[in-house]
Amino acid sequence: MLNLIRNRFLRIPDKMHIMIIAVVVMPLFIGAAIFFSGHFTNVYKVAFISDHAISFPKSKSIQIDKINERPATSSLAMGKYNAFVEVNKDGEFKVTTLKGESDKKAIQTFFEGGKLPENNKTEQRGIGTNILGFVLMLALMQGVALTTFYPEDRNNSTFKRILTSPVNSRQYLAAQGIFTFICLYVPTFIAIAITKICFGVEIGFGLGNLAVLLVILASLATAFSLFMASIMDRNISLGTSGISIITCILAGCFFNFTGNIKVLDVLCNILPQKAFMILIQAVENGRAFQEFAGQLTYTVTWVFALWLVGSVVTNRRIKKGVY
């Protein structure tokens, strides 16, 4: 087994681009994402269109640009402004925004009363949950690139040759899995830890909790990549990226949403990412892992199921003489 893992590491120089992406670029990307999301401001940017000088109380949550002409509607779409506020003849404020009703009302209230309503924002997810949601998607996409030796060995017949030795396909997949896991886990953990410790960015978790959560995350990504590499023959990377993006959106890795389509709800709840997101959100809110044993067990079951199916498919193909 060690020999198989060592073999993967020995072959790294030929796959430098993958390793650089996994070990340098992705961690930088994650670091940058954390750094910037720490600076994400929930400030309303409002264009106040008026020829008259009217002053408003200063607020941290609202930033007003006073201008004479109404800006292009597209600046709302691009997010340059969240709202335009105009005064009509009767002195009433008219708010134009692409945002939802509650936001519109909040801005209206501010202009009319000089204060934003208390708790006008719907409860937001913690920064840690957002970060790990994003990292989960990257890991799912990245895992398959780190599993590239496996399909390569199949194509070059070295896989078949290894199977003629006392090593069986389960051991081979386990060795490949350990390699993928290490390459996913170590750089990700270091990147997040450095961003937290060196740049002082709040990530919502202690390092201990982060370490445990990342074990689950990296295991899921590893099992998924082995599964995809086992069932697909070509375009594995493209297929995996597509499935990762769609399932991560559905599982709420980026946006917490409540749909009203029952089928979709059921589908979302089946996804392992959903259980993982519930778990990390709870941990970020200070709850204990044990309280969410259900979600934990469910995610781990997925890890084993993906692993098992990948292994069974591989074995069946070997027996059929495909490789």
């Binding site: 993958i18 992406i21 600076h39 929930n42 509607t73 691009m78 692409l98 769609i246 959106i249």
Partner: protein, 248 residues
């Protein structure tokens, strides 16, 4: 005539690849539907819904991802093996890569044009109504650029896997900083200024201006820049493409 025959052969190769076909036809619609659906509550009942926003941004992202189709159509292992014969045939090397660009471009332009029309007329996504042809032109240019860029990456790297994985990086970077997933203005003025360097930002801005303000000021600069960048990619292809890369 011979060139068209090669391009047709390449085009059929893409059509025979279910993953490529899926990612250029159904996938963009799924992405628009999904992103639109999950972000519904962030948008009001005004003149732009979540579907309108992600209709534009996800089409932009998908069109940019045609890079992956180009790298696959050019140097994916199975295609590569069949293509080896081509380098022994008495044809200029330019025809080899130009045919990949052309076949990818035709697929992309056909499929994204259809998606835009389906989006506007069937799903009532706002693609500018009467201004739809300009959005078609914009996406078309983006597809051309993506096809040229992907092919260029293959020529430079000489290997599909390397080309694909490295091309993903600028796509991801420019998309994130171009406002595909979220508005960069929320990240402060510095980031907003940096985002001006992302071509994706200009494409989105150009599209939104056409759709919501009937403003065409950015259309020519953006399309010409994309066209110019495409030509630059082709020049790099000619300078770097070594047919012998196919043999190893």
């Amino acid at each position: 005539m011979r060139f068209l025959r090669i391009a047709k052969f390449d085009f059929e190769n893409i059509l025979r690849n279910p993953t490529l076909l899926f990612s250029n036809t159904v996938m963009p619609l799924i992405l628009i539907g999904l992103m639109g659906f999950v972000t519904q509550s962030f948008f009001g009942s005004g003149n732009m819904s979540s579907y309108d926003y992600y209709g534009v941004s996800m089409i932009t992202l998908s069109a940019l991802l045609i890079i992956m189709t180009a790298t696959n159509a050019f140097m994916e292992e199975r295609v590569k093996r069949a293509n080896i014969r081509m380098i022994y045939a008495p044809i200029p090397k330019a025809e080899i890569y130009l045919s990949k660009i052309l076949s990818t471009y035709i697929l992309g332009t056909l499929s994204f044009s259809i998606i835009l029309m389906i989006g506007q007329y069937l799903f009532h996504i706002n693609y500018g109504g009467g201004n739809l042809p300009y959005i078609l032109l914009l996406v078309n240019m983006l597809v051309l650029f993506g096809s040229c860029f992907g092919t260029m990456m293959c020529c430079v790297m000489g290997d599909e896997e390397k080309a694909s994985s490295i091309s993903q990086l600028p796509v991801l970077f420019f998309s994130a900083f171009g406002g595909i997933f979220f508005s960069v203005y929320g990240l402060g003025k510095t980031v907003a200024a940096i985002s001006n360097l992302s071509p994706v930002k200009w494409i989105l801005e150009c599209a939104f201006r056409i759709i919501y303000d009937n403003d065409f000021a950015l259309l020519l600069p953006v399309t010409f820049s994309l066209f110019g960048a495409s030509i630059a990619c082709v020049i790099v292809c000619q300078l770097t493409f070594k047919p012998e890369d196919f043999t190893c």
